[in-house]
Symmetry: C2
Subunit: 211 residues, 2 copies
Amino acid sequence: MKQIRREHQLARTDRADLDSVLDAAAVGTLATVVDGQPWVVPMLYARDGDRIVLHGSTGAGALRHVAAGAPAALCVTLLDGIVVADTLFDSTANYRSAVVRGHLTVIDTYDAAYALELMSDSLIPGRSSEVRSSTKKELAATLAVALPITPDGWTVKVRDAPPSEPEEGVASGGWAGVVPLRTVAGDPVPAPWVSADTDVPESVHRLIKGT
Amino acid sequence: MKQIRREHQLARTDRADLDSVLDAAAVGTLATVVDGQPWVVPMLYARDGDRIVLHGSTGAGALRHVAAGAPAALCVTLLDGIVVADTLFDSTANYRSAVVRGHLTVIDTYDAAYALELMSDSLIPGRSSEVRSSTKKELAATLAVALPITPDGWTVKVRDAPPSEPEEGVASGGWAGVVPLRTVAGDPVPAPWVSADTDVPESVHRLIKGT
């Protein structure tokens, strides 16, 4: 991330820091190697204890390839602020990022039901208790893969600081600081077939409140 | 992205669509291959016509490696909404994503000044006109790399739709729809050495208004 000035870019080594970053985001970039070339795809994910669950259609050829045991890395980044420095050189961002490296394993059909619940509840907490169970057809069409979190298989970096202080003699005397960023939810938009008097479920209320 | 239901996941093929996604985000995930393994890092970037400029410290070993000509892919993702479906299977997200593939080239010292201006103005539009020019020391400590955008070297995917309509007989009759997400800026926080009466610059006002 602009390979941030090292004095402010902190590697975090507590497992709790990793979980905190992973649990705060919904989308990551999954990378693997295909024919010697880097291959990347954005994916929704959920952390499930010591593994990360990624979920796709069984028809997704690329995911199939990854699931076949190729080495993979998942990168998750949260942009927390724009760092407005006194110089162009020090302009940067505050962020939290995590990279988890390992080999993907396919989750079998029995676990696919659990994976679907986990993914939904990670994206929309509590949603799985509001809808019916997945059908056999849906489970058969689900390809869920897991990336294990191993002790040596992850890194977390966080920048959460003001801009670097300008050196004597080169400071502009102008304003410098941080513009914090956050994600907020707008009003929920019902699907076309949903009648206007249908109550918005608790999970959606919580989702909006939680952002 | 949950390898989204294909009926709603549209590949976009207009170059304008690519530019629109790239210009809407500030951070991407850069991937390459190191010793046969996938290697990923989040980076700030700016589009400069037909190339993407990434900028880091010359001390960043990993970026050096990438800059040495290894094949690279940059993945940019914007999460636009949570798609609350009638089923767990159809829960997903609305998003815009772009992947640009190519070989990185190092931008030389002369261009580093331009790259620093470009990066700052991409992150904080107009900032380069508010601060002094970069010093020789700063330029020498800057490693700027470019990823060319070639006609065959990119893909864009967008999901911007309600949930998939439930099949007859399996619908819950409950609410389904989309919770839109957006990024907003909070009040700017001055750096510790900036006095409280220092005016917030125009670029920061614009940044806050623009989010």
